[in-house]
């Protein structure tokens, strides 16, 4: 009887490394964008209901709470966009797999470089 067998694998739970987390974040931001686009096409369609209907809907976009949600949306767009470009480079560029970790760092650097000025300007506009 091999009673020494552990009842559950110890210390082998797959947690992945940076590659897995960027993959999870890419999925989450993709789903977020999908549902946003659905709502966004419907709110834009209000231009053909009446000018007042559209303007009223757009007023909510200018409230502080929604302005903060827009910040979250843009944070997600920026990550999904540049991480997506990294995925494309890994798949198509002959040196891609070798530099994929460098490119992950580049994704974070570009994200910060675009997100910070965006937040400052957007919140100045909205508040």
């Amino acid at each position: 009887m091999p009673s020494a067998l552990p009842s559950a694998p110890a210390g082998t739970l797959y947690r992945g490394r940076d590659g897995m987390w960027t993959w999870v974040a890419h999925r989450i931001t993709g789903v977020m964008l999908f549902f946003f686009l659905f709502a966004h096409v419907i709110d834009t369609a209000l231009v053909n209901v009446s000018p007042e209907a559209y303007n009223t809907a757009l007023e909510t976009y200018k409230t502080p709470v929604v302005a903060l949600m827009e910040v979250g949306l843009v944070a997600g767009v920026l990550f999904h966009a540049f991480n997506g470009l990294r995925v494309v480079a890994v798949d198509f560029w002959s040196q891609g797999p070798r530099y994929q970790r460098h490119m992950s760092v580049a994704v974070v650097v570009i994200w910060v470089a675009l997100f910070v000025p965006f937040v400052v300007r957007h919140l100045m506009n909205a508040f």
């Binding site: 053909n48 827009e70 767009v77 966009a81 470009l85 494309v88 506009n125 909205a126």
Partner: protein
Amino acid sequence: MSSTVSDSTTAGPPPAPRSRKARGPGLHPEMIGWLFMRLSGVLLVSLILGHLFVNLMIGEGIERIDFAFVAGKWANPFWQFWDLAMLWLAQVHGANGMRTLINDYASRNSTRMLLKAALYTASFVVLVLGTLTIFTFDPCAAGSTLSVCSE
């Protein structure tokens, strides 16, 4: 618990992978989807970041967006085409991505079918509604206060 050799070690070697030819000629549909995700993704970077820059960063950003702003943009075929391309690429890319997630996470056949039916219906509605919105837009619709309409 017996300590006999497990069955899996008695199985033969794994079958050789099918050759590309065995699947028939042309690109496999999943391969087209894979390529489309990458091609559309690259195009969407400029389209969406351009959209966000023009609508949120120039002038007063979100504060100035209203009916007149949209009328101003869609008076120009350039922005009509921009939005049309963005609409179709983003919706097909997003729907194909969601299809992958349904395949990954919905394990029951009936659940998968139901979710995909909902996904395809929603995508169809978004593509038709979004396309019509751009091309049936009337800057001088009842209630419009644009000065060009009072002439």
